[in-house]
Symmetry: C2
Subunit: 227 residues, 2 copies
Amino acid sequence: MTERVVPHFQEELEQFKARLLEMGGLAEERVAAAVHALVERDAELVERVLDGDGPLNLLHIDIDRRAFKLLALHQPMAVDLRAIVSALKINSDLERVGDLAVNIAEAARRYLRHPPVKELIDIPRMGDLAQSMLRDALDAFVRRDTALAQSVLNRDDTLDALKTQVFRELLTFMLQDQRTIEPSLDLILVSRHLERIGDHATNVAEEVIFMVSARDVRHHQGEEPAT
Amino acid sequence: MTERVVPHFQEELEQFKARLLEMGGLAEERVAAAVHALVERDAELVERVLDGDGPLNLLHIDIDRRAFKLLALHQPMAVDLRAIVSALKINSDLERVGDLAVNIAEAARRYLRHPPVKELIDIPRMGDLAQSMLRDALDAFVRRDTALAQSVLNRDDTLDALKTQVFRELLTFMLQDQRTIEPSLDLILVSRHLERIGDHATNVAEEVIFMVSARDVRHHQGEEPAT
C-alpha cells in the first residue's frame, strides 16, 4: 500500500496471514465438533471428525511453503521477518490442535460404546474456554495486541482447574463403580486433550508477546557486534 | 571453509546446529532421568527433574534468537534457509519433550505416594525407545540422512503398541483392585507422555525428510512464476 514496500511482498504476506487465520478457524471448528459429538453422543459426527483431517493438513503444508517462499524470495527484515517466523510456529501449534481434535473424537468413539457415566458439564465448558483462548490468541496475532494475548495466558489457570475438577469427580465414580472405569478414562483423556489445546493457545499468545516486544529488543541488539 | 561462502555465517550456522544438538542431548537426558526416577522410585531424582527445567528453556530461547539473527543478518538461501527453518521447528519439538519429562516426573511424584502397582517393564522399554527415536532423528538432521529419519518413523508403531499394551494391563489391575486405580492412572499418563515424545521424534524425522527432499521440489518451483 505504501510506496516504500514491495507491493508483491505485502500482498503475499497478507494472503499468508489470511491462510493462517483460515487454519485457525478450521482447527477451532474441529475442536467444537469433536466436543459436540462427545456431549451429544453423535456417532456420525465423531466419524466425520475422524475422517476430516485432510483440509487442515493441506493448509498446514501450504502455510509452511508460503512462509518458506516469503523468506527465500523477499528476504524480509525486522517486523515482517519476526511475523513470518512467529506464523511458522503458530502453524505448528494449529496443526497439533487439529490432531487433538482427532484424539478427542477417538476417545469419544470409545466412550459411546458405554452408557454415559454422567451428564457432561465441565468438559463442554473446557471446550468453550479452549476455543475462545485459541480465537483470541489468533486475533492478538493479527492485531499485534499484547493485552489480548496476556488475557489468553490468564485463562489457562481456569482451564487447568477445570481439568483437575473433572479428574477428581471421575475418580470418585471409578472408585464407586468399576463399570465406569473404562469410559471415565476416556473422559479424563478428553479433558487432557482440551488442556493441551489451551497450552497451544498459550504458545500462540506467548509468541505474539515475544513478536511484538522483540522490536524493542532488536533495537538494542543492533548496537552490539553480531557475535 | 570453502571460498564461496561467508565464513562468519558458516561459523554461526555451525554454532547454531551445535546448540540444537546440545538441546537434544539435554532433553533426552531429562526423559531418561524422569523414567529412571519412576522405575527406581527415586523421589530425590523426581524433584531434581521437576526443578531442572531452566537450562533447557534458556537453550530454547537462545536457539530461537540465533535462528532469527541468522535469518535477519545473513538472509541465507535454499539449503541453509531450509535448515534454519527446520531447526526452528525442531527446537519447539525439543522444548516440548522437556515439558513432557516434567510431566512424567509429576506423575512419578504422585505414583510414589502409593505402593507399586506392578514391576515396570514396558514403561522403561517405551522410555528407551522414545529416547533412541529422538537421538536418531537428531542424527538424521545433522547428517541429512533420510534413511535414518525413515527408520525413526517406522519405530513409532512399536511405541504405540507398547502404549496399548500398558493400557490394557493396567485396566485389568484397576478392574480387579480399586486401590490400584489412582496409581494406575498415573502410569497410563506416563505411557502417553512417552508416546508423545515419540511423536515429537517423528516430527523431527519428518522435518528432515522434508528438508532434504525440498531441494528437489525447489528446483521445479524455480521454473514457475512466484504466485
